[in-house]
């Protein structure tokens, strides 16, 4: 059932993007791109084995883009999806460096599914911080917010050190998906990548630290689950 839903969503997104890009051939004002910021194997300090991805794809013009954003976390030891999230948004410039976006998000982890409506902004903040800030309202009426910040530090023109931060907050409790009101989780990462083939393929190594916060952490503790983890990561950054 779950696999079917996923396949449907995946197929839908892909075919929309492909049909856009075929029209793009006739008109060079339509562009497309696909990137994976994270596409990695994570090995945790308590023996966790995870596969994690975080990427996006777009098709559209300077003025209007359709963007897919997806991230997920597969627990390889227990064979389940800790997280499986897909977003489809329309995006348009609102300032020199920022775009506004609005769309839908569907989470299909191994536990409980959720639909969300979403609005957000993404762009480049002063001093070269890449920012993605989003608001979500779920089908159960629970609001939440997320901030993603990333910075590319050039050690050389190919060797790049990327610190990143993801911060989640909820405006109400959603016990079913184990999220409590307040700051709910954070993840910080530090990845060292090398641009092997142009900007297309860049292998990296790094560390990631993930922690549930506040009430959300309490929920996890109540359930006897871990609320924090540290990982060594190895992966590829991809851009096509």
């Amino acid at each position: 059932m779950k696999t079917l839903t996923l396949a449907a969503i995946g197929g839908g997104v892909l075919s929309t993007i492909l049909s856009f890009s075929f029209t793009a051939k006739a008109d060079n004002h339509i562009f497309y791109g696909i990137q994976m910021e994270q596409f990695e194997y994570r090995s945790g300090d308590e023996g966790e084995n995870l596969f994690v991805w975080d990427g996006d794809a777009f098709v559209g013009t300077d003025e209007l883009k359709l963007r897919w954003q997806g991230e997920g976390e597969r627990d390889l030891k227990n064979d389940l999806y800790e997280n499986f999230e897909n977003r489809l948004v329309l995006q348009t410039p609102i300032s020199d460096f920022f775009d506004a976006k609005a769309g839908i998000r569907l989470d299909t982890p191994s536990t409980t599914d959720r639909w969300y409506g979403t609005v957000g902004i993404m762009g480049l903040a002063p001093q070269w911080f890449e920012v993605d800030a989003d608001l979500f309202v779920s089908e159960t009426g629970d609001g939440s917010a997320r901030l993603d910040v990333e910075y590319e530090g050039l050690l050389t023109n190919r060797l790049i050190l990327t610190p990143s931060l993801e911060l989640n907050a909820a405006f109400s409790d959603d016990r079913e998906i184990e999220v409590g009101r307040g700051f709910s989780s954070a993840e910080i990462g530090l990845r060292l990548s090398y641009d092997l083939i142009d900007r297309a393929v860049a292998p990296y190594i790094g560390v990631a630290y993930e922690r549930k916060l506040g009430k959300t952490a309490d929920f996890a503790k109540d359930d006897g689950e871990d609320y924090e983890a540290t990982y060594l990561v190895t992966g590829l950054r991809l851009l096509f």
Binding site: H29, G33, D96, L154, R158
Partner: protein, 560 residues
């Protein structure tokens, strides 16, 4: 149906034309898929008569050139005769001059050749020109030229990239610094700290970071191989000479994106022509050739030894190299490349530095423009102060610009200010009106425009036949833009009055305002654009409509 009508009318006109022109000459060009092999890489490309670059077309002033162009591609094509004065239907810009040349079709261009000099031709469709569709044109003059030479070579410069043009633009749209591998790194930060101190360096980085601009953003598309007449440095294009001969070199920059600084160490170059028009001879050690420009120089090698033709790109990310040699196979020694990649300064950002001669940055705070308030100018560590306030600075660069060129040997570097027409083409008269064209863009989005409006959203520029219009170019971006008006000459205002040089391509450097005047003497509709391929494709482009003038109405309707 309309197309048939068009060609019928065209045919009818050509009969009239042929009978009125003393002699017609026929040339055939095929547009083909070819392979470019630079030694390091082989790329699928587009060329003419089976090769890229295409042949040198040798036309004669006064003839009617009949050029049959056969499209062997599986996509539409076109040829634009860059710098040629001709009926607009022959100008070769799809959707403006004509519908384009469909696959398998042959289009016959009929050009009454009314000028002489060095020009070039290229496709005006998609990214065929960056992909290899270019060639050179020599037009022999009717009258004797005001300079002598014993032999001549065309020297066509090209920035051949391993990626196709379409892919390059897509990559730039995804990530505007995709090809910039000259960015400042941690190492640069450390060396700047040791030179200028931590606070100053941090504050300078902060200034650029707050604008979200990069001082290294000089060449959008790096990673190319510089070619001379289709040959990479390794393949060493060679022009032969005998000692003491005067050799005329017809430089053409057919690059998609790259300006070159050209020198021939050991030889002084006498510039005799710019953009096909004779100029009063200027002796230089080095010159910068913008994309789409041409310069003819005469050199006189006295020794029986090979000389290097060295063309380093403006941002120093690449170079083209060839030899002038007394015998085949004798390669010139390549001069050391200058690794001093320039950095843009706040002057290139369009700040008013007219009063900067005294270099008192602390008093500049109040003169701020463009939302740069709050910048601490006392800490502009990256600026090259030594260049500022020098009276010999090229007036076509912002005072304090990081792009101001210097000759490798410390000698004379050509400036636009040195260019004086040999013979004025038009009588001097005041312009009837001024049109301001602000060159605008957003590097982070890789969008380029004129007056903030992209081509697809813009109204055409309407000119009246018979007027003399003055264009005011205000470059509000951080990049140089070579602006090319089709069909009519651009008289570059260098302050020399009637001796102002007559060009087809005018470079405007960052932070600069440059004027050119055009005698509107060609009816029809024309293209007007930045000649950097990916700026042009992103919207820095306008249609120019010339209203009134001699009747070409029949053809106009036919072509529509």
């Amino acid at each position: 149906m309309n197309k048939f009508l068009g060609s019928a009318l065209l045919g009818a006109l050509s009969v009239i034309a042929v009978s009125s022109v003393a002699n017609a000459a026929t040339y055939d060009l095929s547009v083909d898929y070819v392979t470019i092999d630079t030694g390091e890489m082989k790329t699928k490309a587009i060329g003419y008569n089976g090769s890229s670059p295409g042949p040198t077309l040798r036309l004669r002033e006064g003839e009617e050139a009949v050029i049959n162009v056969t499209n062997n591609l599986d996509e539409s094509t076109s040829i634009h005769w860059h710098g040629l004065i001709l009926p607009y239907q022959m100008d070769g810009v799809p959707e403006i001059s004509f519908p384009g040349i469909a696959p398998g079709e042959t289009f016959t261009y009929r050009i009454p050749v009314s000028q002489s000099g060095t020009y070039w031709f290229h496709s005006h469709s998609g990214f065929q020109e960056p992909d290899g569709a270019y060639g050179s044109i020599i037009i022999e003059p009717k009258k004797r030229e005001p300079f002598k030479f014993d032999r001549e070579y065309v020297v066509v410069l090209k920035d051949k990239h391993p990626h196709s043009g379409a892919r390059i633009l897509r990559n730039l749209k995804m990530m505007p610094d995709y090809y910039n591998r000259n960015q400042r790194t941690l190492g640069d930060f450390i060396s700047d700290v040791s030179e200028n101190g931590f606070g100053a360096t941090l504050s300078e980085r902060g200034d650029w970071g707050s604008m979200r601009m990069m001082p290294t953003d000089i060449e959008d598309v790096q990673g190319f191989v510089g070619l001379i007449n289709g040959k990479s440095p390794e393949q060493n294009w060679t022009g032969l000479f005998k000692a003491n001969e005067r050799v005329r070199l017809r430089f053409i920059n057919a690059s998609a994106m790259t300006y070159f600084d050209v020198r021939i160490p050991g030889l002084e170059m006498t510039v005799v022509q710019a953009d096909g028009n004779n100029v009063q001879p200027v002796k230089v050690d080095e010159f910068r050739i913008s994309v789409a420009e041409t310069y003819d120089v005469i050199v006189q090698p006295t020794a029986e030894k090979p000389y290097a033709i060295m063309a380093e790109s403006m941002g120093r990310s690449g170079y083209a190299f060839g030899s002038l040699s007394p015998q085949e196979g004798l390669k010139a020694e390549m001069p050391a490349r200058r690794m001093d990649a320039p950095l843009l300064t706040m002057a290139d950002m369009g700040m008013d530095h007219g009063s900067m001669a005294g270099m008192d940055h602390s008093s500049m705070g109040s003169g701020n423009e463009n939302g740069m308030a709050g910048m601490d100018h006392s800490n502009m560590a990256g600026m090259d102060h030594s260049q500022m306030g020098m009276s010999k600075d090229d007036p076509f660069y912002a005072a304090g610009s990081g792009l101001t060129p210097k000759a490798a040997n410390g000698g004379k570097f050509l400036s636009y200010a040195d260019l004086k027409a040999q013979k004025p083409l038009y009588p001097e008269r005041p312009a009837t009106r001024e049109i301001e064209l602000r060159l605008t863009g957003n590097m982070e989005r890789y969008t380029w425009s004129i007056n903030g409006v992209k081509y697809e959203d813009a109204e055409p520029i309407r000119l009246k036949y018979g007027e003399r219009v003055r264009f005011k170019f205000v470059n509000e971006t951080m990049m140089s833009h070579p602006m090319h008006l089709h069909g009519m000459w651009s008289i570059l205002d260098t302050g020399n009055g009637k001796w102002d040089p007559v060009k087809h391509t005018i470079n405007i450097n960052p932070g600069m305002t440059v004027y050119s005047e055009t005698e509107v003497d060609a009816p029809g509709q024309w293209a007007f654009h930045c000649h950097l391929s990916y700026h042009m494709a992103s919207g820095m482009f306008r249609k120019v409509v010339v209203e009134g003038g001699p009747a070409v109405a029949a053809l106009e309707n036919g072509v529509q």
